[in-house]
């Protein structure tokens, strides 16, 4: 994969991640509005914004990251206790959040610039005035590149350096790679074995580096260690402009001192380890010390000159006597060297304090004071727990689902085969074996299906979480007060259903807040609490998921609905007259009927409830409405929990196979003919004191509906089916069995036949039509 492909992949990955984060932001910012001081919440909001900014920039959304930075600042200030979040800030932050989402769209950045600038300007008003950091005088005239410089680098890591996971040898090696380098390890700090702590660093290094790279490049090597290590860099142009030159006398002395120390350190081990008299070595050592002493005196450095005096005397004696050095003398020399090195070091430090070539340890500026940040993050509301999860291409999942579903259907062939083996081929023992094997496969297939199904299930929370924001916005825009209660957010639905239920729900919740809830004044006058209440509820009921939208608002007026429908010519006045209240409420589902007095920009213009109902019907769901004038409305949506494989009852009518979804079948009964009645053109059945309108499946889809007298058999098979219009009794020829079916759509040409959900292929290869109870009658 090349970089461009990675970029695209990263961008896509970020969009997915950002969608989650933005949704989380929505809910946590709203929570923050009611608890603006909650440190946990502040941290949650901050962290989401921070991640959006950081990851977004990495994924290449630079404009978005730059914009997000301003929002982040606001919450950072709040997190640090420097400002308190107000509803106005939340307003603005929500606006910013929306913009962030849109900035992620292709070409988003170009069109949104003015809107972003506006938000940034408004944000700036909330932020404390900041002194712009003076741009640190970065221009360094002396840092001319390409000319080779000699750098004498001293590096003594902190003794505890290993505990920061740093291997100092890496640092030295990195320096070595920058040019021609001579590296000397300074082992003089290493103690004797007994007192040596293997986890401590006693070493220091001197690196003599000839490099054309700018000083900054060399300093950069120390980036991670500069704070706690001793680092000195002396740089000279190469060829070195001779000892004295412009350099001060002290610098010249230090150069000589460094050279002397280096030379001495080279001879010291030899001197120490010698058992035989080593005159040559002693003489060399003596010569270096004398040269150094002379140089020191010449530069007015009396202290080091005196320091070496003792060693000079000691060596002079040794050279004259030509005897081996005593152990005591060796010790004195080694000690003398240490002292000299230490002394020179301190001279050098005094000299370099403030010099621009020195890297001095920088102290952490003020111990960070932010208990809030570290105290938080411990407890996290369950709503936000991060599930360990992987993202899978939906297509793969669909394919898996399809296969699992087909396996379920295919296994239906085995019982049929077993039966044929027994009946047609006389192999009943064999038939039994096939049946046993098929049972086994059945179990596995069911497990598999359940597992795949559970993958597709998502909590309805993902849909619900957008509503608090929406209700809040509507209320703020209209000067209303309302509270949104969410219940059963963990109720799970198939992903496809989740995706398609969002729009209808938006419409319904919007209606509830916009049309349902009255203004505070009206409410108070009616003796209700000022703040209205909208409840969004989800729960499982049998094989279905039920979603309810309740409000304690004005309710709907059946009389007004009727008047409106007549006015729009949707029904005749006569029909309106005959209509009971329940039927009148149903009018709201007619296309083209809007009841809002004023068309608001919130609830649109009457493309409402009919679309909602037909959308839900496509999900094989039903929508029912209850409303009481003055006290509110309740809309109940019933949906199948899963779309792909469903259980059904296979029936036969007129030799054709039909399937009723199991969820719609209330009961299956056999009724004696006496319980069937006829009133004018309509047929009824009475069963357990209930009267059911009756229809015969064999006639129902026939081109010519049969009317008048029907010759019922002695006993009829009747399925009581729940439809949008209530329960009806459906007479079939025969109940065959319960089945598992994968419903396939009928194809474009038949897609608008509301009576069927689709068709399915049975285990024996026959095609059966699957009845849609919502559109059946």
């Amino acid at each position: 994969m090349d970089i461009a492909a990675l970029q695209i992949k990263m961008r896509d990955a970020f969009r997915v991640e950002a969608a989650d984060l933005l949704a989380e932001l929505d809910s946590s910012m709203l929570e923050l509005e009611s608890r603006p001081q909650d440190p946990d919440l502040l941290n949650r909001v901050f962290r989401a914004i921070h991640t959006i900014k950081g990851s977004g920039a990495t994924a290449g959304f630079n404009e978005m990251a730059a914009f997000t930075h301003h929002v982040e600042e606001l919450f950072d200030e709040a997190r640090m206790g420097r400002l308190t979040i107000t509803p106005e800030m939340i307003d603005l932050a929500l606006k910013a959040k929306d913009l962030i989402g849109r900035l992620l769209e292709p070409d988003g950045a170009a069109t949104l610039e003015p809107a972003c600038a506006q938000v940034v300007e408004a944000l700036a008003k909330f932020l404390p005035h900041k002194v712009k950091p003076s741009s640190n005088g970065q221009a360094k005239p002396g840092d001319g590149p390409s000319q080779r410089q000699r750098h004498k680098i001293f590096f003594k890591p902190h003794p505890q350096v290993f505990f920061s996971g740093t291997d100092p040898v890496n640092v030295v090696d990195e320096l070595r790679a920058l040019g021609e380098a001579a590296v000397t390890a300074r082992v003089d700090g290493v103690p004797t074995l007994e007192s040596l702590n293997p986890e401590q660093c006693y070493l220091a290094w001197e690196v003599n580096l000839l490099s054309a790279l700018p000083l900054a490049k060399i300093k950069e090597v120390f980036l991670f260690v500069e704070d706690e290590s001793e680092i000195r860099i002396e740089s000279h142009l190469e060829p070195a402009s001779s000892e004295a030159g412009e350099a001060g006398p002290l610098t010249a002395f230090l150069n000589i001192a460094a050279q002397s120390l280096e030379a001495l350190s080279g001879f010291l081990p030899q001197l120490r380890d010698a058992t035989e008299p080593d005159l040559r070595c002693c003489k060399n050592y003596l010569r270096i010390l004398r040269t150094f002493q002379a140089a020191a005196r010449h530069q007015g450095q009396e202290a080091p000159a005196t320091l070496v005096e003792e060693q000079i005397q000691l060596l002079e004696e040794a050279v004259t006597s030509q005897a081996a050095l005593s152990d005591e003398a060796k010790c004195d020399l080694a000690e003398g060297y240490q002292k000299l090195a230490a002394l020179i070091q301190s001279v050098r430090e005094n000299n370099q304090r403030g010099s621009k070539l020195a890297i001095l340890p920088t102290l952490p500026s003020g111990a960070a004071s932010q208990p809030a940040a570290s105290a938080a993050g411990g407890s996290k509301p369950p709503a936000l727990r991060a599930a360990a999860s992987i993202r899978v291409d939906q297509e793969k999942l669909d394919r898996l689902m399809q296969s699992a579903g087909e396996l379920l259907v295919a296994r239906n062939a085995f019982p049929i085969l077993a039966k044929r083996l027994a009946l047609e081929h006389g192999l009943s023992a064999m038939g039994k074996e096939v049946k046993d094997a098929s049972n086994h496969i059945s179990h596995i297939a069911e497990d598999l299906q359940a597992a795949v199904m559970s993958i597709r299930m998502m909590p309805i929370r993902t849909v619900f979480q957008r509503f608090p924001r929406m209700v809040r916005d509507i209320c703020r825009a209209q000067g209303k007060e309302a509270e949104l209660l969410l219940e059963g957010e963990d109720t799970e639905l198939d992903k496809t259903v989740i995706e398609q239920i969002a729009d209808p729900l938006v419409h319904l919740v919007r209606n509830a807040a916009d049309h349902g809830i009255e203004s505070p004044e009206v409410r108070v006058e009616a003796g209700k609490p000022r703040a209205g209440k909208v409840t969004l509820k989800a729960y499982n009921k049998e094989n279905n998921v039920v979603i309810e939208i309740l409000d304690d608002g004005a309710g709907m007026d059946p009389a007004r609905l009727k008047a409106k429908a007549v006015e729009k010519g949707l029904i005749t006045p006569g029909a309106a007259e005959a209509m009971n209240d329940r039927a009148a409420l149903e009018l709201i589902f007619l296309p083209g009927l809007t009841t809002a007095e004023a068309v608001t920009d919130i609830s649109g213009r009457g493309v409402g409830m009919d679309v909602v109902r037909s959308n839900i019907r496509q999900l094989q769901g039903t929508t029912t409405l209850e409303s009481r004038l003055g006290s509110g409305s309740r809309i109940t949506i019933t949906l199948p929990a899963s779309l792909m494989v469903s259980k059904g009852i296979l029936v036969e009518a007129n030799g054709e196979a039909y399937v009723f979804p199991i969820a719609s079948v209330v009961q299956m009964v056999r009724l004696p003919r006496q319980q069937l009645h006829r009133h004018e053109q309509a047929h009824f059945a009475t069963f357990r004191n209930e009267v059911y309108p009756l229809l015969r499946l064999a006639d129902h889809f026939a081109i010519k509906a049969q009317s008048g007298e029907i010759a019922w058999p002695e006993e009829v098979a009747m399925a009581i089916i729940q439809t949008n219009q209530g329960r009806v009794g459906v007479v079939v020829d025969r109940f065959v069995s319960d089945v598992e079916v994968i419903v396939k759509p009928l194809g474009r040409d038949f897609a608008n036949i509301a009576a069927f959900q689709g068709a399915t292929i049975m285990g024996d290869g026959r095609v059966a039509l699957v009845i849609n109870p919502a559109g059946f009658v």
Binding site: R47, G54, T58, S164, G165, L223, S374
Partner: protein, 121 residues
């Protein structure tokens, strides 16, 4: 040489970017979503480097660093923090907790690899 590197970040985008970059350079990558997840995934396996975000739910990067430094197998393992320009004091806190170095977000692939080379060549 192939290293085994753990990336700890609650942002999937960051993890993916780091994973891809490091894998392209021939390393093995272990992902963790926060400090708690990281600790759970250690299993005393040999890890050559940790790259961790600072601001994470459950257990942040600083606390994670402290806990790793307290665990025998990882006392000396390099830990690189992902920071932003604005997190100066966090950086110091991280260093104090035992972090080896840091990368400033946003960063590109070369910058990431340069830091990896620096702390575990």
């Amino acid at each position: 040489m192939t290293k085994t590197i753990m990336i700890v970040d609650d942002s999937a985008t960051m993890r993916q970017m780091v994973r891809f970059t490091l894998e392209t350079a021939g390393h093995q990558v272990v992902e963790a979503t926060d400090g708690v997840d990281a600790l759970a995934k250690l299993n005393a396996q040999k890890l050559d480097l940790f790259i961790t975000d600072l601001n994470m739910p459950n257990l942040d990067g600083i606390q994670l660093t402290r806990q790793l430094r307290a665990a025998a197998p990882y006392r000396f393992t390099p830990i690189v923090m992902l920071t932003t320009e604005s997190q100066q004091e966090k950086k110091m806190e991280g260093k104090a907790a035992g972090a080896t170095g840091w990368i400033i977000k946003p960063f590109n692939m070369e910058q990431l690899l340069a830091v990896v080379r620096r702390v575990c060549p």
